[in-house]
């Protein structure tokens, strides 16, 4: 069987694809003792798990809450209350109702009007570093773009942006299993508390004085007489600040690594800017920001010939599905002209990423500008280290020169 069966082994964190490939070929629905759940790695099975919300629930809070002591549940009640309203943790019918209300603000055609402004922000950020000849790509560029875009879209004034981002980071501490941070749940709750206090008056303000921003759109969102409740609005504002940050940053960083390591593809894009749409899809497929997402089984069932028990955790390994040779020709090759490209980097089924149209737009504008302004960009000769997480494919730093 597998020589190394550890999602967090150093060599797997550095490059998970050989491990994913071995699982996919040898044991596509695999019980991983260490993680305590099933790893699902074939495209077809991943898609099944994500489509079949009746068998596989996304309500991860319910199982999490069960593990807490009653005192912890009391202490963390604010956190539990809001997180359990976040779309990504909910099942129908709640999920359906809220998703339909928010969806209109995030359709491809409604975010398209942000494109000129996104282009401007990309340009400003790159102009600041252009004269230097080198940068740390993540902190000098990739980190800022999604923060500025979503803050502006939400209607958070520029002077508050840093603070809001800090609170959002605090809130998100809970998602990263870091044994060395025993108080991470408390810190997460404090961060959330700050975010809620921040958004509360903004929401009241937009009720009285509508503006051309996302908070106003959410306040006014209405579907057959139904509106978002005040708590749902608050939960949505906090999740939007959080959900789009690191994922988009990591798409830009992982994408730049992939393109600079496949020089022919970089040159192809540089000489054919109209390829930027399929190029971004291919970067999502080839080394996407989210390696995996999880569900739990709501009933005893079967998948890939294995017997799954009610309550079992299922890790749908998006990064493995995206390299499945049963679905993609030459899956380990980067081919920016690949069409169609039915990757699952944004998930699949009813929880398909709400921010996908916005993330796509940001990445298209970023890679367009980078390939035109820094045609000779290359990776600096420094070791690259990834954060040790099951979910995120995230570099710590990325030094580049031109």
């Amino acid at each position: 069987m597998l020589v190394q069966d550890d999602l967090l082994a150093p060599e797997v964190v550095a490059d998970p694809y050989p491990y994913f490939a071995r699982l996919r070929e040898e044991d596509p629905v695999h019980w991983n003792q260490r993680w305590g759940g099933w790893l699902v790695t074939r495209y077809e099975d991943v898609v099944t798990v994500l489509r079949d919300y009746e068998r596989f629930s996304a309500d991860r809070m319910a199982s999490l809450v069960l593990e807490l002591t009653p005192e912890d549940r009391d202490r963390l009640s604010l956190l539990i209350n809001y997180f359990s309203k976040w779309l990504v943790f909910t099942d129908p019918p709640y999920h359906t109702r809220v998703r339909m209300l928010i969806n209109k603000a995030f359709t491809p055609t409604s975010v398209e009007r942000l494109r000129p402004r996104v282009r401007e922000i990309v340009d400003e950020l790159l102009s600041e570093v252009a004269h230097r000849g080198h940068m740390e790509f993540i902190h000098d560029f990739a980190f800022h773009l999604p923060v500025i875009v979503i803050s502006e879209y939400l209607g958070v004034p520029p002077e508050d942006r840093e603070q809001v981002k800090e609170w959002s980071d605090e809130t998100s501490r809970i998602f990263f299993i870091r044994a060395d941070e025993p108080d991470r749940r408390e810190r997460s709750q404090r961060g959330l508390q700050h975010l809620l206090e921040y958004f509360e008056p903004l929401i009241y303000d937009r009720r009285r004085h509508p503006k051309d921003d996302l908070i106003t759109a959410l306040v006014q969102a209405e579907e057959r007489g139904d509106l978002l409740s005040h708590e749902e609005l608050l939960a949505t504002c906090t999740v939007l600040i959080f959900a789009g940050h690191e994922t988009t940053t990591n798409l830009l960083a992982n994408g730049l690594v992939a393109l600079t390591e496949h020089r022919d593809q970089w040159e192809l894009l540089r000489d054919n800017p109209s390829l930027v749409r399929p190029a971004v899809e291919e970067l999502l497929r080839y080394d996407g920001p989210v390696k995996a997402t999880f569900r739990w089984a709501k009933t005893d069932t079967e998948l890939g010939g294995k017997t799954i028990r009610e309550g079992d955790r299922m890790l749908a390994v998006l990064g493995a599905a995206n390299r499945d040779p049963r679905k993609f020709q030459n899956p380990d090759d980067l081919d920016i002209t690949r069409t169609p490209n039915p990757h699952v980097a944004f998930g699949h089924g009813i929880h398909i990423c709400l921010g996908a149209p916005l993330a796509r737009l940001e990445a298209q504008e970023a890679f367009l500008a980078l390939s035109q302004r820094f045609p000779n960009i290359r990776l600096a000769d420094r070791p690259r280290e990834y954060h040790r997480t099951i979910v995120a494919r995230a570099l710590k730093e990325l030094w580049v020169e031109w």
């Binding site: 079949d52 359906t96 055609t109 089924g349 009813i350 398909i352």
Partner: protein, 79 residues
């Protein structure tokens, strides 16, 4: 008389979000694979069909005037 629509789904793009099915329930339905399928192009008013096409996160829905062939969604440059 409402115009007749031709509606197509791109199955390489459709991820089964269900948004079209909820928006225009008499036009779109989940098939066995939980992807969208068109059961009746006249099932709901044109307005709802276009709202569903707009709402699709994957730009997987194409709508045309069945008689003139005029493209109603997606808008030019966005396909």
């Amino acid at each position: 008389m409402a115009r007749r629509l031709r509606i197509a789904i791109d199955y390489d793009r459709c991820v089964g979000s269900g948004i079209c099915v909820l928006t225009a329930p008499h036009v779109f339905e989940f098939n066995d694979q939980r992807q969208s399928s068109v059961i009746d192009p006249t099932g709901d008013p044109e307005e709802l069909v276009l709202e569903a096409a707009h709402g699709c996160p994957q730009m997987a829905i194409f709508v045309e005037d069945a008689d003139t062939g005029e493209r109603l969604f997606p808008p030019p440059g966005l396909e």
